[in-house]
């Protein structure tokens, strides 16, 4: 998928664990793991807002667009 989730990078920058983020954004660990591993098919604006608030970042810091092989 051409959308890359850089959640782990932002978490490392903020020195925040998955458990801590899970508590702050009120999201289950499994859902957060789905997002972190790039398996998610969609992200709710409310989730994105909560993550950005917790990590003090912009959506662009978490999501990145990389053209796929067919789009290059």
């Amino acid at each position: 998928m051409p959308i890359i989730v850089n959640l782990d990078v932002m978490m490392a920058k903020r020195k925040m664990s998955l458990n801590e983020l899970s508590e702050k954004v009120d999201l289950t660990l499994s859902n957060l793991s789905i997002l972190k591993t790039g398996k998610a098919k969609a992200v709710r604006f409310s989730t994105l807002e909560a993550i950005c608030q917790a990590l003090d970042c912009q959506p662009g810091d978490i999501l990145e667009y990389v053209p796929g092989p067919s789009e290059v």
Binding site: L27, N31, L32, I34, L35, K39, A40, K41, A42, V43, R44, T47
Partner: protein
């Protein structure tokens, strides 16, 4: 409260289909015992055929006051039991063919019950729009027309056996089940296939929902 009731109903249906499947298997095994004379030592085959008689009509006065009311009795359902002195007499293609088709009809029926049982078990466990359920519903759609088809072939084979008997040569005998049953169940199968497509769309939506955070 409503959810608990629903789950209980699904569990009940699960056990109903389990009971039906166990009964089906028991009857299937009993049938084998009858065919091959395991239970009473007398091999036999049995089944329904339709005798086509060229009977004179029963004539009654027309209740409207004039003319006659003729009632023709062309087709008569007849139950046939053919016993054999020894098991070796049974091992002829026509008898084995009949047993094969009859067993296939039973096996398809048991498999449908098994698929229903598994579907209700999954639903009871909260597994609804999953590829496994779709696969099972599709199997059911395939087997629904296969049951009357196998029953028709069995009945046709039995009719052929009866037609060869000396007393029945002048009297026409045809299969007890008809082609219309196969066509009708084929239409039901098409309906189930349409439902499978809807179910598949549901599974896709469910997967998307599961992967939305």
């Amino acid at each position: 409260m409503e959810s608990t009731l629903k789950i209980t109903l699904l569990r009940v249906l699960h056990y109903v289909f389990m009971g039906l499947m166990v009964a089906g298997i028991a009857l299937f095994v009993l049938n084998q015992g009858n065919y091959f004379g395991i239970t009473d030592g007398q091999p036999s085959i049995q089944g329904w055929v339709t005798a086509v008689g060229d009977h004179q009509p029963v004539t009654l006065p027309n209740p409207e006051g004039s003319g006659a009311l003729n009632i023709y009795n062309f087709n008569q359902q007849q139950f046939l039991t053919m016993e054999f002195a020894s098991r070796s007499d049974l091992f002829k293609p026509r008898y084995l063919g009949y047993i094969l088709f009859q067993n296939l009809a039973w096996l398809f029926g048991i498999l449908v019950l098994y698929q229903m049982l598994r579907i209700f078990r999954n639903l009871d466990r909260g597994v609804t729009f999953q590829p496994e359920n779709i696969r099972r519903v599709r199997y059911i759609a395939f087997m629904i027309p296969a049951i009357p088809l196998a029953a028709f072939l069995a009945s046709r084979t039995l009719a052929g056996i009866v037609r060869a008997l000396p007393g029945y040569q002048s009297l026409g005998v045809k299969p007890a089940s008809s082609v219309e049953e196969i066509v009708f169940s084929g239409l039901i199968a098409l309906l189930i296939f349409a439902l499978v497509e809807i179910f598949q769309r549901g599974a896709h939506l469910q997967q998307e929902q599961d992967l939305t955070v």
